[in-house]
């Protein structure tokens, strides 16, 4: 009798997590495993799938150049947006630190783009960055030659990045602002009494105190920027050429538009592996230098 109760007790937690596990299995684990599985097949939804080994991987890495372009673009996009969002977020957080009416308004305004739909922002910027758009009008006012922004292969990726930074800055500044404000004022005063200059205080006290938040943002930002899709799809369609193509958009095209599921799954698997490696590296290397209280 007693044994039975014990077994029920042990089973109880598992019973409680079953609903979540079922959902995860159906919508996350199965597709994940299936994606890796399909990446070894030549498959287009209609004809019989045939096993082709690492052929898909060979093709995306060594034969078709568009995957490599998308991959490189994604890396540039990731590095650029992550760096500037963290850097500018920190600068704005330090600027907004002092309580004043102006800062309160600035903070709200800065957060505003973040609550707008990505679609709306993409459309607005498409108009702003149009050949005849507002940006070029302003440039023209100062007698600067107009840029072709989204329509030039040298600036298209940059333009997409500018929009992402503009949209995200308020959110990252807000998170960093709350952590800047949570640093006890006595610490800064103590540093003042210890005759540390403003710059030294920032690098020796403020920045280390912010490191847990910065680290968290770094990981989420990196992962999120690898998943960039909607702005590219809407504003440039990956072009001109492949100049602003990114990984997820490449995967989307190969699956939804070209029906080359095997190739798309191979691309997806590459993305998965990269994200796994990134996360492990971050926690191993940077995690050690981060101060947690």
């Amino acid at each position: 009798m007693k044994k039975k109760v014990n077994i029920l007790r042990k089973l109880f937690p598992y019973v409680m997590v079953i609903p979540t596990m079922i959902l995860l299995a159906v919508f996350v684990f199965y597709p994940l495993v299936n994606m890796v599985y399909l990446s070894f097949f030549d498959y287009n939804l209609i004809k019989e799938k045939t096993f082709c080994g690492l052929d898909n991987y060979y093709r995306i890495f060594f034969i078709q150049t568009d995957f490599r372009d998308a991959f490189l673009n994604t890396l540039i996009y990731m590095a650029g947006t992550t760096f500037f969002l963290l850097f500018l977020g920190l600068v704005f957080a330090l600027w907004l630190q002092r309580d004043s009416k102006f800062n309160a308004i600035a903070q709200r305004l800065m957060f505003f783009p973040n609550i707008c739909a990505g679609l709306a922002i993409s459309l607005i910027f498409q108009w702003l960055m149009d050949d005849e758009g507002l940006f070029n009008m302003v440039l023209g006012f100062f007698d600067i030659a107009p840029l072709r922004w989204l329509n030039d292969s040298t600036t298209s990726l940059l333009s997409v990045m500018i929009v992402a930074i503009w949209k995200g800055i308020g959110y990252y500044a807000l998170i960093l602002l709350s952590s800047v404000k949570s640093i006890p004022t006595e610490l800064i005063e103590a540093a003042d009494l210890d005759d540390a200059g403003k710059i030294r205080t920032f690098f020796k006290i403020t920045l280390p105190m912010l490191s847990p938040q910065l680290f968290f943002l770094l990981i989420t930002l990196t992962i999120n920027s690898f998943k960039v899709f909607d702005s590219v799809r809407l504003m440039t369609g990956g072009g001109p050429g492949n100049s602003s193509d990114v990984l997820v958009y490449w995967i989307y095209r190969y699956s939804m538009e070209y029906n080359k599921y095997g190739l798309a799954c191979a691309g997806g698997t590459v993305l998965l592996v990269i994200l796994l490696i990134l996360t492990v590296v971050y926690f191993r290397v940077i995690g050690k230098k981060v101060h947690y209280q």
């Binding site: 103590a190 540093a191 003042d192 210890d194 540390a196 020796k204 101060h291």
Partner: protein, 354 residues
């Protein structure tokens, strides 16, 4: 070397004036304690000396030098904060070293100073630990070592013991007194705890409402208070004070000076019949709460008595007596009356109930 002089200092936060026209001299090499209830301006004064909360107007001199425009780090002072303000991202060594590094003191010299300071406060085995691995008392010592190592001319301490448990607090009190003897620099210590003030200070500055109520040595402030505020702030339980029968002046006497008798005493100036309301045993002494048996409005408030005799029971009716030399008189403005001829006149109004 570190005499601190306040000249006509004012401080306001927004529209609220915290300190108005204050003049004060803190003597070189003394252990001075600023004591008062919260919001009395004592921490404000300390932060002015430190330079992290400058005065609104007035002049401040440290060691004869006007320091109004000198930044905190260049004033030759060190401060221990209430919650220690230890840099949580640095080791104990890093914390102590930070100020020295900023002053560009060479490495060998730094190591020697750190070793000395750590030895004094007993932190040598913990130099490479992070603050989060230390107990409250150890963090307190880090804060002290960090201040000491700078060999400041003025040592500022803002309620440094208030976050420690009772036992450690008493132990640290003695250590701080010893530290002061060893360093022989000016200590300015802020606290709201009159026991701390009494036990550590060379000079107590008692503050209330941004004003200095009395500035004197502990024994003077206890035996010879200037006004009712001082009389009641220093000493536990506080001095019993009530209006005299002329309804203008006040009479006061300390709980520990009250003598309790079963029979009416003849040799005391102040005699009252009382009833025991409560009795608290403290071990060496006993606290009695007493009600004067009188119809007079001015004596309705119960009085406290501290006695070595623990034999009086609750509800027992007894006599209390206070000798002439232990009675204090205060005028209508709650200031002390010291003139003896004045006392003579007042005697008749305080003579016991018939």
């Amino acid at each position: 070397m570190g005499e601190i002089v306040f000249k006509n200092i004012c401080k306001s936060f927004g529209d609220t004036k915290v300190i108005e026209n204050l003049d004060l001299t803190i003597k070189d090499g003394e252990f001075t304690v600023l004591v008062g209830a919260s919001g009395c301006g004592k921490t404000t004064l300390l932060r002015m000396i430190a330079g992290i909360g400058p005065a609104t107007s007035g002049e401040l001199y440290i060691d004869g030098e006007e320091v109004t425009d000198i930044p905190p780090g260049k004033r030759g002072i060190a401060m221990v904060f209430q919650n220690y303000a230890i840099y949580p991202t640095m080791t104990v060594r890093g914390n102590i070293e930070f100020g020295l590094k900023n002053k560009k003191i060479p490495k060998s010299e730094r190591d020697r100073l750190i070793a000395d300071a750590a030895e004094v406060v007993g932190l040598t085995p913990y130099l490479n630990r992070m603050p989060s691995q230390l107990s409250g008392g150890q963090r307190q010592r880090v804060a002290l070592a960090r201040a000491m190592v700078k060999t400041p001319s003025v040592f500022l301490l803002d309620e440094p013991l208030s976050n420690l448990d009772a036992k450690l607090r008493v132990a640290m009190r003695t250590e701080l007194i010893e530290l002061h003897h060893r360093l022989k620099t000016t200590f300015v210590y802020v606290t709201h705890d009159q026991t701390e003030a009494m036990s550590m200070a060379d000079t107590i500055i008692l503050m209330d409402g941004g004003k200095i109520q009395q500035m004197a040595a502990p024994e003077v402030i206890y035996n010879d208070p200037n006004n009712i505020f001082t009389a009641q702030f220093i000493g536990t339980p506080p001095m019993n004070v009530h209006k005299m029968r002329d309804d203008v002046n006040y009479i006061g006497y300390r709980p520990e000076k009250i003598q309790i008798f079963r029979d009416k005493p003849t040799d005391c100036t102040y005699v009252r019949k009382v009833k025991v309301i409560t009795r608290e045993m403290l071990g060496s002494e006993t606290l009695y709460k007493l009600q004067i048996l009188s119809d007079a409005e001015n004596e309705k408030e119960p009085i406290m008595s501290k006695s070595l005799d623990m034999s009086f029971a609750v509800d027992e009716e007894v006599y209390i007596g206070v000798p002439k030399e232990d009675l204090y008189y205060f005028d209508a403005n709650k200031m002390r009356i010291r003139e003896t001829d004045m006392l003579e006149r007042l005697y008749c109004t305080t003579e016991g109930d018939k």
